[in-house]
Amino acid sequence: MADKPVYEEASIDGQPPKLASIPASDTTVWADASPLLQAACAGLRDGELIHGDNFNLFAAMSALEIMDPKMDSGIVCTYYSIDEAIENGAAPIPISLDSTIDVRCTIDIMDHLLACEAAWHKGHSLAQTVFSCIYLLRLDRTAPHALLHSYCRIIRATCKAVVSVVSDARTHEEEDLFTMTYGLPLNGDGDDKCLSILNAVEETISRQLRACKATSSKRRLPEDLEPLQSNPNLEEGFCKALLCRLRFRKHFFHVLSCMKRPQGRGLESARKHIASCLTELESILKSADFLRSCFDESCEGDIDDKTTASGFEPIGFDAMLNSRLSAPTPPRAIKILSWKKAVEYFVKLLHDLDVICSYSLDPHLESLLRFVVQFQKSQPDLVARSHLQLLLVQDGKLYGRDPFFAVINKAAALPEATKNHDIQKNESFLQLGMLVMNLLKILCTNAAWQRRKLGKFLQDWRVIYVQLELAFRNEYGEVSSSSNDENTCMKIFQHILLWVEEQTYWIAFRFLILGFELELYSTGEYCMVYWYLYAVLIKLTEKTHLMMAVSHDNAKRKGKKKKDSPKDLARESRIPPAVLFLQCYICLAEGLSMMLAALRNEIPVFHSPSPFNTEHEKFVQHFELLQRACIPDHVSYPSYKESTTHARFSTLAMYNYFKDAQRIAKEVKSSFSNDPERLAELRKLEQ
């Protein structure tokens, strides 16, 4: 047939040259199927598809739609590739032949990078934020431009440090985009020297600043130094603007390096660098006025939305260029933070890091837990929380220094001597150590993740309690005349069992309280939540009181030799303040619960059943995890119903709840005089 050669010609000539570079295979060619497909489309009925047996409409819905900007990360925009962009002048070196404009543009790039970095910290991908900078993507190109080069180097080193902290802490499960660095040039040769390079540049600019100040005061300097840029009126402003930005970078890098040192050895130095960072950030903010006013051209648009201090758009950024590097997952449209918001973010981050650095590494678990809870109240972001977690849990030890069994030993009010007891090698005790470690890690995550994990965690604590109890009963079921060592073991078991119970109720309490912070309860459900809180708190108080009594016993035994002063005796017979504090909470919870129940019972307006779930179902939904872990025992929907159906306004007892709470609060205030956080909480309670 004559068709064969015709076809071959057609297939070679008709195809664009590019197609020829995608080989079909050795024995096959590409044949144009479009006419056939068109004919087939014409022949199909409406809604009819041509598909094979393995076709699944539901699965097909997950196909990436090409040319849809939300799904197609490879859409060709301005440039086909980074190299093409560079060839076309998207990232010129030097940025401008006019040194004044060059300097201003460099500052714009620095500011935009800060905004990108803040956006990245907030949870976007590195590729779309910091590495949308073409200069960063081809860092070696910037070598002739000392200022830009040193700045890019330190940015790269800083990003790498932050990625490693968050990866080590593994809190990035919450924000999965943070550590994605496929194909991004994060590892650079000689980045460890980035500080010295930066110092050199800083030194030069400092001398230029001195020189221009000297000129203005008519003094002569022996050095023959080239000025930073060509306009002498602007020299001082530009030098200052640059210096504070460079210094901020330097100190921030130092903060990260110091905080990384094991066992919290670098915390004090970190604090000094944090203070310097905050000072430099203030200077950076002040420089904005100068930068905006130094050029005649005014920038359009709202200055507050801009990502640079000067308001001009930065040169050399293109987020689409390496969107292909951020994996085939669909690209999310992101908005880079405004420059002002970026600075605010870093100020907050530094304050959060400062709180961490000023922590005294208290070996008492109870105070540590309170510290973490308090810290979380300021809603720290991912980077700060990762740092906290790494400080707390290192090398399987608390602060990298105290083995967890010793920590539990102390928390369970056992004497110092038992912390090295062999019993810690027992499987259950090893697991208990792991549980405490995981608890600390969970408490460092964000509120939503934390609550979810804590709910599931309750089951683990319950199981370990049962295991320990079983082991205890197996070994010491019959209490006979035991040797000294067995006595110690028994005591260890008893203390730890009690402590595990206390911890479990504490976790349950946190779980319920977090529900308030996350606004998970509707107002109609407050009554049952407070009621459950009340039930949990009663148990918690009971266990705490028992623990305190036990530790008091120990103290008493220790101090037997000393003469007991009457004050000591009086103190022992009183209820310890921590327990009273909890009792305050109990009164409040009970009072609120009863008040809400009474409101619901007396005033029909408050009792509006929802068309969706019944109250019983809601009860189960909220407290299922707690019930599964039997926390507390014998607490269920019927008992809730029982206690609340008869609540009435007329019950004066209700007012007594709040009065009791106030009274106890006053008593407790005196004992907590050196604990400002508890005082603040008490004041809130009183209101």
């Binding site: 068709d3 064969k4 015709v6 076809y7 071959e8 057609a10 297939s11 000539d13 008709g14 195809q15 664009p16 040259p17 590019k18 197609l19 570079s21 995608i22 079909a24 295979s25 024995t27 096959t28 060619v29 590409w30 044949a31 144009d32 199927a33 479009s34 006419p35 056939l36 497909l37 068109q38 004919a39 087939a40 489309c41 014409a42 022949g43 199909l44 009925r45 409406d46 809604g47 009819e48 598809l49 041509i50 598909h51 094979g52 076709f55 699965a59 097909a60 196909a63 990436l64 739609e65 090409i66 040319m67 490879g74 859409i75 060709v76 086909y80 590739s81 190299d83 292909r324 085939p328």
Partner: protein, 112 residues
């Protein structure tokens, strides 16, 4: 010219009904399922994948797709590629569509 050849081939196939049992285009396209297909789109990229689905509007779904793109506007240039999985290529952005087949098959399949 390619278009004419293609169309004439379809007509040939239609008139020559006795040579094949199924001569309508829909059945013929069904035979192309699971074959490697190369779709070019308007911004210059190419998608190579297994032909999975076609609808009346001409939208194509490919499986195990690889995206090819050139790194420069001008050719010749090296091509970059990456794997995408299941993709839907709307008919509005399609530029070309080729199927991988042997030289002999070229005639029989696309004709028949």
């Amino acid at each position: 010219m390619e278009q004419e050849v293609g169309e004439s081939l379809i007509q040939l196939g239609n008139s020559d009904g006795s040579n094949s049992s199924s001569s309508d285009p829909v059945t013929r396209v069904r035979k192309l399922l699971f074959r490697r297909m190369l779709v070019g789109i308007k911004d210059g990229r190419f998608f190579l994948g297994t032909f999975h689905c076609l609808d009346k509007q001409g939208n194509i779904i490919l499986q195990d797709t690889i995206e090819y793109r050139s790194t420069r506007r001008s050719s010749p240039c090296p091509m970059e590629q990456r794997c995408l999985g299941l993709v839907l290529i709307p008919s509005s952005c399609q530029n070309s569509c080729h199927v991988d087949c042997s030289v002999e098959e070229q005639l029989s399949l696309l004709k028949v």
